[in-house]
Amino acid sequence: MTLLETQDLEVVIGSTTVCHGLDLAIRAGERWGILGCNGAGKTTLLLTLAGLRPPQSGRIALQQKALSALPRRQIAQLVGILFQEQTDVFPANVLDTVLTGRHPWLGPLQWESDADREKARSALQAVGLADIEQRLVTTLSGGERRRLGIATLLVQDPRLLLLDEPTNHLDVHHQIRTLQLLSGLAADDNRGLLLVMHDLNLAARYCNHFLLLFGDGETTQGSAAAVLTRANLERLYQHPLLPLQGPQGQVWIPQ
């Protein structure tokens, strides 16, 4: 099933054309990686696909329905997004913050139920934060805050997950744990994933489809094998790369 589809999409931010005439289709179970150099507009594209920013032109459809015609609540049931940074101004505890993920599923005057709290606790468990549910978010470290954001996304329970640099602030162990958790959602649960990544090798290990943004509106997309070529990647990053054969497949070393 196609979760998200764009037709002739043009996204522009400032003087940068992020993409031009982009036709993209993300199907259930697919794990997409978006790669591009700094300032290519990866975050802007993600916000556009989540319906939080209007595109210059073109169409976006969620499960065959036009995104612009869907109410926000319904969009939030289909698509969830993890932002690059999350700032907290007011203190709230970890459990209450995870519970905000239930918002699109609750009626206007409805309170969170025990079942909702159950979901929140198992999401905290999944990201390894179960023992700090009463801590204030303003006291969390960068990595803990990141995992809290991912737990909130799990509780939101969308069909398509858009994640802007999900491994930001995470140590090596939690990078792998998080990416395994996420790719498990795609494989076992038939959800769609779209990850903006800076770590080329982690992306190559966990994504099976790629969209490359060259920063001038040009894009390339397709399966990992077809897109992750030395020529494409060197053009993308404007830097010479050396492919090496590792135990988990090919890795790229910047020269």
């Binding site: 101004v89 007011f90 203190p91 709230a92 209450d96 609750l106 303003t138």
Partner: protein, 331 residues
């Protein structure tokens, strides 16, 4: 709701009743709670009944309503601006409402016109604060406070101008009213209705407000139609401020102190924070006004002086320490 929130609301309700009792029994004619009972049964002597029913009761009711209105307006503005230092007085919204009200008074208009003029002044202030302090996508504390301070002093000049034009015999009253004074407040029937409706509406939006404090993008991603919600809260906060100002002039810092005290008590959920703020704000202003009219009796002080005496040091303390203590955004 678990037991603790219920307990808190119950304790605050008790505090409100106690401060009402204190206010009704304090004054030049000293009375006890027995006299209150007599008055309520209708068999107290006429003077006592008059003092309590016609002097103290309307003023106490006005003090409670004003405090509740200001605390609720403050809590809502803090959500809108994502800043715990937001307050109708500090940001010049009260000044805008006061200028509108004075202008209406100068033209001899009263009633609904007065209320409408105060509302327009408050709304204009909110527009200015929001429009000008909304820099490159985020509100910063310093920019917000600077904008508020400049707008407040601008309104100060407008108020000075209007006072200069006003006939001399009313000046003392006007100046008192500008400092925040409940001496002339009547029974606040419409103000109380606005407070009640505002509280119900705001509490009903409570879960959305909890998410709105995480930022517009996060709120949008979680299914909230951000712009309509913001506009609604924005109108509501202006209306509440304008109503408070028409009741009692510009009383500062209640909107700042009350939500902050509740957050320190660990109340973060707006479905609980907002009703608790109304109860606590009402009680605090009721106690402050009782002090204002008894401390130097028979001389009466404007209650705004008392709230400023508590509010200014607290505000400075917050500005200084708040960043580390309560995660103030200070970029």
């Amino acid at each position: 709701m678990t037991t603790r929130p219920r307990l808190l609301l119950f304790a605050l309700l008790l505090l409100a009743l106690l401060s009402l009792l204190l206010s009704l029994t304090s004054g030049t004619v000293s009375t006890g709670w027995r006299d209150l009972l007599d008055v309520s049964r209708g068999d107290a002597d006429a003077v006592l009944a008059q003092v309590i029913l016609e002097l103290r009761w309307p003023r106490s009711a006005a003090a409670f309503t004003t405090g509740g209105l200001l605390a609720l307006a403050g809590a809502l503005m803090q959500v809108l601006l994502r800043n715990p230092l937001a307050d109708p007085y500090v940001l010049g919204v009260s000044g805008g409402a006061a200028s509108g009200a004075l202008l209406a008074l100068l033209f001899g208009l009263g009633g609904l016109w007065l209320q409408g003029a105060a509302f327009s002044g408050a709304l204009l202030s909110m527009l200015l604060v929001f429009g000008l302090s909304h820099g490159s996508g985020s509100w910063t504390t310093s920019r917000l406070l600077l904008t508020g301070v400049v707008i407040a002093s601008g309104w100060g000049a407008v108020i000075g101008f209007l006072l200069a034009l006003s006939p001399e015999q009313g000046l003392r009253n006007m100046v008192f009213w500008l400092m925040g004074d409940l001496s002339y407040a009547g029974l606040p029937a419409s103000g109380f209705v606005i407070l009640l409706v505002g509280l119900l509406a705001a509490t009903a939006m409570g879960r959305s407000l909890n998410i709105l404090v995480h930022g517009d993008l996060t709120a949008g991603a979680l299914g909230i139609a951000v712009q309509p919600l913001r506009r609604l809260v924005y109108l509501l906060a202006s209306l509440l401020t304008a109503t408070a100002v028409t009741l009692a002039g510009s009383i500062g810092f209640v909107g700042l102190i009350v939500p902050h005290m509740l957050r320190l008590l660990g109340v973060h959920d707006h479905r609980l924070l907002l009703p608790a703020a109304v109860l606590l704000g009402g009680s605090l202003l009721l106690i402050a006004d009782t002090l204002a009219r008894t401390l130097l009796a028979p001389r009466q002080l404007p209650v705004g002086i008392l709230t400023a005496m508590i509010g200014v040091p607290l505000f400075l303390l917050l500005l200084h320490h708040g960043r580390t203590l309560h995660g103030l955004d200070s970029r």
